[in-house]
Point group: C2
Chain length 345, copies 2
């Protein structure tokens, strides 16, 4: 058990002694209580900065009964699971937390599949005041659990049943509808979808949006034009291959993520189709390297850092006493037009 480091930190009692007041007084001075004379507050603060005083977060947390920490569980790293946004998300969260000097505790699920267990353990470890959950499923055991646990939380995305908790989601349905409309406006009439399992709520919503977009463009929905794939380039590749094999193949396909779109483009190219003319594909995510695929990928984008910030702000408000149900926000995604789409040839 590592003992205190050589550089013994200066404690509140030392600055109290230096100024000639009690610890309690010094504490209140530092924390902006109104029952402290301005003159003594000044002296205390001077001494504090002179001695380079840093309050012990541990002691404060114990005394206050709040750990001032919010938790984030890294998405399990499975085949289906490469989430390109965690870094940005963490950045956003961390940025928002910095304003209050709160901490971000990151953990991972140890045994694959034991995700819920991880949340459970984290919840009653007492190490976090609240949680941010991402990669939401349509029916997500994590939010079920958290709702019943009493631990404050906010989710990125939303479940099928949106009631009773705080969330912030992109309007996936609208985004998919927009993508279809964009393609229809270009003149496409045979537009397909490579989606993921409706198990993921964002996928479910994008499927809905796809159908709505079709309807709004006066296009017919065809079951063979909607194929489900794992959330990976491999998945996209296989799905596109099956789409191309159709007797009257689609002239455009919207993909549930950029990674899937990459795979889809590869498949098309392997079949000798030129993406952007013979066949259009649009992705979803706005990954930076999408600008460097061949051809550059047209895609939907969202500001993940800002999303992380906002999620954190929401969580903090809830921790301050706000009702979680007050926070149910939907943001819009934005189309980045590059070169993987064009009028049908």
């Amino acid at each position: 058990m590592q003992k205190l480091s050589p550089r013994r930190a200066v404690s509140l009692s030392q600055i109290a002694e230096a100024v000639g007041v009690t610890e309690g007084t010094a504490s209140r001075a530092l924390n902006g209580y109104s029952d402290i004379a301005e003159s003594t507050r000044q002296k205390v603060m001077d001494a504090a900065s002179a001695l380079n005083y840093r309050p012990s977060p541990t002691a404060r947390r114990l005394a206050r009964g709040s750990v001032e920490t919010i938790g984030y569980v890294l998405p399990a790293h499975g085949p289906d699971q490469t989430d390109p946004f965690v870094t940005e998300m963490l950045n956003g969260i961390s940025l928002a937390l910095a304003d209050r000097d709160w901490d971000l505790l990151v953990t991972t699920v140890e045994k694959s599949g034991a995700e819920l267990e991880t949340y459970q353990r984290l919840a009653d470890s007492g190490k976090v005041s609240g949680l941010i959950v991402t990669r939401t499923l349509s029916r997500d055991p994590r939010v079920e659990f958290l709702k019943s646990s009493g631990l404050p939380f906010v989710v990125h995305g939303r479940t099928a049943d949106v009631k009773g908790y705080a969330w912030l989601d992109i309007d996936n349905e609208q985004a998919a509808a927009d993508a279809v409309k964009h393609l229809a406006d270009l003149g496409h009439t045979r537009v397909a979808l490579i989606c993921a399992s409706p198990y993921y709520n964002f996928s479910r919503l994008r499927i809905d949006g796809y159908r709505r977009g079709l309807a709004e463009a006066g296009l017919q929905f065809r079951t063979d034009y909607s194929v489900e794939a794992p959330l990976s380039a491999e998945g996209g590749l296989a799905a596109m291959r099956s789409l191309i094999a159709l007797p009257d193949r689609p002239t455009a396909v919207v993909c549930v993520t950029d990674l899937v779109a990459i795979g889809a483009m590869r498949a098309a190219q392997k079949e000798g189709l030129r993406v952007g003319s013979d066949i259009s594909v649009v992705g979803y995510d706005g990954l930076p390297f999408g600008a460097f695929t061949d051809p550059p990928l047209t895609t939907m984008t969202q500001d993940v850092i800002r999303t992380g910030r906002r999620l954190t702000e929401i969580l903090l408000e809830i921790l301050d006493g706000a009702s979680p149900t007050r926070f149910q926000e939907i943001w819009n995604a934005r189309l980045i037009r590059r070169a993987s789409d064009g009028p049908p040839s």
Copy 2:
């Protein structure tokens, strides 16, 4: 200030009372002290699990004087800065930490450029027992600072001066030499390098390795074949463009990262060159989507999760009292052969 959550945790005093012993005894029983009768230890542990007791980490930390937390500062998110590995790194760290039930505190640099300040603040916040630093520069102010601060740390990569601290690095020099050798074996004699600033130590080492590889293959080093670029696809694109414009353009180019390689391939293709035959390119990073570029990218790879684990183990050993200088490890990268390379045409 958020008060304790409804679910008041059960405290040590409660389980002590239940068993009929003192808090101190209960504590020692739970922590495996030898001066506790096996029978009472059993009773205490039974009571603890019956009441679902979770020791308060905050209280323990205060009493023990150790925060049981290690810190990680997210790489600044600048143009040059997309580090595709943070997620995996965090996973590895977190996994290793779980064994001891320690925590991972993640933070970000608030104002761009104020990176050192962030480390400074983190160091004397008392919130972490140690730090893991990544993205090491040849002359890295962070390790300078940490060396003098007394805060234990371990670095991924290494600085130009490798003495006096713990690090774990990939053998970048060897990897680059291997890449050159691979290309030379294929028959290339005009192999170029797109590197990053030697400011990054891994880049500097890869440059060295490139030259060594050239020498070992009996090839001449030419200054115009070595071009420096920002660590992005854009950077690779521009660099490749200049390489192609050379009177006797190279037939192969090794790129400092996969992202750079992607840009480089694009540039070549825009000039009408077929990558893999007209010109070979090899990347470095082993990013998953490299398998789906066109053509699939030949690259060097390393296991970042395992790296994160090992870094953490090292740090924990240091925190247990081991001497940092004992830990200076070099691992090898592995070539993944795909389709962006081939014999010169």
